[in-house]
């Protein structure tokens, strides 16, 4: 049983082929994509270079900036450090999937627009995905200091932090009031 399990989960590995391609199914924004990738492809590059979902950004590639933040089963994670293969079977949500299907902006997007919570816009998807995760997380308090602490893994070099905080608080009020 043990050996059989191993073989089954490895996929088709040709011992002579170091590239060891694997076929996997990634569910992104509710849609399932079948991809054949080498194991060393991280989710961020799979999204951007294979699926052309370029909303998640590469700012450091090492978990040091937060621009690549996406939701995995609703929780924010740094997609640059997540092997794509390990995301199989989980619900991946990117910025492209945040708004309603009819185009109605998510409250966090609407708040970012109204509060000018960005400048260049490059970290913005990551900021909004993190904010979405935080607002859904019962373990994170929603006072300004707690939000700032919880958002600190998302660097905004333009320094639009004040407006981002205002937007997150505003979105929180909208969501709570709804």
């Amino acid at each position: 049983m043990a050996d059989a399990t191993l073989d089954a989960t490895v996929g088709h590995v040709d011992p002579n082929d170091t590239s060891s391609l694997q076929t996997m199914e990634l569910t992104v924004n509710g849609q399932t994509h079948t991809l054949t990738l080498e194991p060393n492809v991280v989710l961020l590059d799979a999204l951007r270079e294979r699926l052309n979902l370029t909303g998640a950004k590469k700012g450091c590639d090492h978990g040091q900036c937060g621009a690549c933040t996406v939701l995995i089963d609703g929780r924010a994670m740094n997609s640059c450090l997540l092997l794509a293969a390990l995301a199989e079977g989980q619900e991946i949500t990117t910025i492209e999937g945040l708004a309603d299907e009819d185009g109605t902006l998510h409250p966090i997007q609407q708040a970012f627009l109204e509060h000018d919570a960005y400048q260049c816009g490059y970290c913005t998807a990551g900021q909004m995905m993190m904010a979405t995760s935080i607002l859904n997380d019962k373990d994170i308090a929603k006072d300004p200091a707690s939000i700032k602490e919880a958002m600190s893994g998302n660097i905004c070099r333009c320094g639009a932090y004040k407006n981002i905080l205002d937007a997150v608080q505003s979105a929180h009020r909208t969501i709570e009031g709804a």
Partner: protein, 738 residues
């Protein structure tokens, strides 16, 4: 001007940025594209004797590796002229020779079918080096008494010196003489530099993360000996640059060469480490400030000697003394700046170049003088307010610095300050107040734009400038809407494409003052083109003197007659009317001096028991002329203040003794994060500067970053009694200082 200008408008590109739809350079994926991945030198000084390539060349997906021995020998240097708009950052061509001048200097570009293959192969390209024993890792301290003793080139202050500064200093009742230094900083824009090149016959298209599509087009035309018309540079969205993307870097040339050789599009996203080593920095600067004053605080002498490091591969004068001659009324001023070479990557302008480092030194020195004189620092500055620009002896176009000082002091509650050091306490914390003046020169350049009336009622405005996050798309739309009556949502703004009419760099806070007059000129020209058509025989206004017709609220009007532009286009049976026009500054620079000013006040909290310093709040009042969009303008100032907080407390690009760039990543190069951000109160005064342009706007990108570091250092002194003259004000500096 009322409804659309000087009004808070959400960004017109907001929906794209908030949905992931904005196409930044690295987001563009072309059919058949290959991936470039650069390899940087492991040493900082020496010779590259060879490369181990065999293993990498045999790895999966590798198409080719470019390096010194196989690179394009037909490339030429760009003349590197700002006036001719072909400036490059690093004058040396990539792989030009085998001399290593700095850690991270590109020694190869691996090109492969996927990003992962390119990266894996790049890790297996190894350089064989002959390292020099001598590495110039950093310049020694500025030799204060003998500036001529320093290596490098002495830059005298552009004739900005006046009077007899040394003699006045000797005779001054009160004097002060201090040295200041600021660590190398890196722009660290969130977007990695990126370039995608694709050739179609002899036409080159480059998607680039750049603050200057026109500059890069011209530079590429020299490098590749091609007419500019055969080159197009596109940068629709830029993940900001802060100066680091003003001018072309070698990765763009490497990528274009690879694409030409391989006959496929090549996309190179520069890894973060290489962005640090090989795509610019604000160079380390050392400054000496000598002030002479009368006992009543009147400045009698200012001597400001600066120096900055540059690279062996190119000269960058960071002009840290640039603001000094204009800041205060003082009869005797002398400024110099000296530049010396080190084994670092090429420095370049970084947000508020000159002013940000220079005003740290000058405004800290002013605070020190206030303490010596036992004067209130605000009063000392007021005492020396310059009624005209003392450097040029021209009147200011508009100067409300006194109101900035007063308003900011009031908003801050400066009157609650207890002057005594360390006297204000709360729990474990000692409270410090500090302030400084802020300033940035206002500039305007030549610019062209195109405006097109479309049959469906929409208006298209095009200009070969960029929006790096400052809000250029939006203020162009606001301006066109204001002038034409077309609602802002019906205006299409096209930027970031060098095939559009030539526009300015997005830098230096001059884009707004430069672009908006061109938009107006182009709209006027397009309106005139329409009028010319509708005043011809048989047309709607054939009976009217064309000069009497006006564009009002989307219609041409003459007396009571008003016909919508869409109707006119339909009657004319044409889909559109378009015109291009240019605008340039006149001779107003001969009549006025243009400068923005501001005042910034800071409260810090110092917990000596755990050596913890934090900025508690920031208040800034800024006079930037008119803000076209106060929402995006205020955001700019706030962003500058945040970057200044980083400059003051955290940021330093560190090179070890071997010239190795130690912290080339965003975990070890410390920038402010959410948790560092205190309440920030920015007030924008609203005094339109119509001498500079018809919109009264002077630009806003830089000024927030000036003065703030000094205000923080001054507040630190007030709290701790420790005068830290070296940035960043790190924990160890606070711990070790007496």
């Amino acid at each position: 001007m009322s409804e659309t200008l000087n009004t808070q408008k959400p960004r017109i590109d907001g929906a794209l940025k908030l949905s992931g739809g904005a196409d930044y350079t690295a987001d563009i994926n072309l059919d058949g594209q290959l991936y470039g991945y650069p390899v940087g030198s492991a040493i900082a000084s020496g010779e590259l004797e060879g490369l181990e390539l065999e293993e990498a060349l045999g790895m999966p997906g590798v198409v080719d590796i470019f390096h010194h021995d196989n690179f394009d020998s037909t490339l030429k240097h760009s003349p590197n002229s700002f006036a001719e708009k072909n400036t490059v950052s690093e004058p040396r061509l990539p792989f030009e020779d085998t001399t290593i001048h700095y850690h991270g200097q590109y020694i190869a570009l691996v090109v492969a079918d996927t990003f992962e293959h390119a990266r894996a192969a790049a890790q297996n390209v190894k350089g064989k080096y002959r390292a020099n024993d001598q590495v110039t890792s950093q310049l020694d301290e500025l030799d204060a008494d003998n500036v001529a003793g320093l290596p490098g080139v002495l830059q005298e202050g552009d004739g900005q010196s006046r009077g007899e500064a040394d003699a006045a200093y000797e005779n001054a009742e009160v004097t002060l003489d201090h040295h200041y230094s600021i660590a190398t900083e890196t722009h660290a824009a969130m977007e990695l530099h990126a370039s995608t090149a694709t050739w179609s016959g002899d036409h080159l298209t480059v998607y680039e993360s750049t603050q200057g599509v026109v500059f890069q087009r011209h530079a590429l035309s020299h490098v590749f000996s091609m007419p500019p018309e055969q080159i197009n540079v596109i940068s629709h969205f830029i993940g900001s640059g802060f100066g680091g993307k003003l001018f072309m870097w070698p990765h763009a040339i490497m990528t274009a060469v690879a694409s030409r050789r391989l006959k496929r599009p090549v996309k190179t996203v520069v890894p973060r480490q290489s962005v640090f080593t090989s795509a610019g920095s604000r160079p380390r600067s050392m400054q000496r400030v000598r002030l002479g004053a009368r006992a009543d605080g009147t400045l009698t002498s200012i001597r400001h000697d600066g120096s900055n490091e540059t690279a062996f591969v190119g000269m960058h004068n960071d002009t840290v003394i640039s603001a000094t001659p204009s800041m205060y009324a003082c009869e005797n001023v002398a400024v110099t700046n000296r530049v010396g070479e080190v084994n670092h990557g090429m420095p370049c302008p970084m947000r508020a170049p000159g002013e940000a480092p220079g005003l740290f030194a000058l405004e800290t020195a002013m605070d020190e003088l206030a303490w010596q004189l036992e004067m209130d620092p605000v009063e000392l500055r007021k005492k020396n307010f310059a009624e005209r620009d003392p450097a040029s002896d021209l009147p200011w176009s508009s100067n409300h610095l006194i109101e900035c000082w007063d308003n900011a002091a009031k908003r801050f509650g400066w009157e609650n300050r207890t002057a005594e050091i360390g006297a204000m306490r709360e729990g474990d914390e000692i409270i410090g107040y500090g302030m400084a003046s802020q300033s940035w020169e206002a500039m305007r350049l030549q610019c062209s734009a195109r405006v097109t009336f479309l049959a469906d009622g929409r208006l298209q405005v095009s200009c070969g400038t960029q929006d790096i996050g400052t809000g250029t798309y939006t203020i162009v739309a606001q301006t066109a809407s204001e002038l034409s009556g077309v609602p802002i949502e019906d205006i299409d703004v096209r930027l970031g494409d060098s095939s559009l009419p030539s526009g300015p760099l997005s830098g230096g806070s001059f884009a707004t003052a430069t672009v908006l007059p061109a938009v107006k000129a182009a709209l006027d020209a397009a309106t005139q083109a329409l009028i010319d058509k509708v005043t011809q025989d048989g047309q709607a206004f054939s009976d009217v003197d064309s000069e009497s017709i006006e564009l009002n609220d989307r219609a041409l009007t003459y007396g009571d007659r008003s016909i919508p532009v869409t109707t006119l286009l339909e009657e004319l049976g044409i889909g559109q009317v378009t015109a291009e026009a240019s605008a340039e500054p006149g001779d107003e620079k001969n009549d006025y001096s243009f400068r923005s000013f501001g005042a910034v006040f800071v409260e810090v909290r110092w917990d000596p028991g755990i050596s913890r310093l934090k900025v508690e709040r920031i208040v800034s009042t800024i006079d930037i002329g008119r803000a076209i969009n106060p929402m995006t303008a205020r955001n700019q100032v706030e962003g500058g203040l945040v970057m200044g907080l980083g400059m003051a407390l955290f940021e330093q690009t560190e090179y070890d003794k071997s010239g190795y760039l130690y912290n080339a990543n965003l975990a070890d190069y410390i920038v402010p994060v959410h948790a560092d951000i205190p309440p920030i109160d920015v007030e924008l005064l609203d005094y339109p500067d119509y001498h500079l342009n018809a919109f009264g706007a002077r630009g806003v990108g830089e000024i927030g970053l000036t003065g703030i570091a000094a205000a923080i250092s001054n507040a630190v002194y007030h709290a701790t009694g420790k005068r830290i003259r070296d940035l960043p004000i790190s924990i160890e500096r606070l711990l070790m200082a007496n």
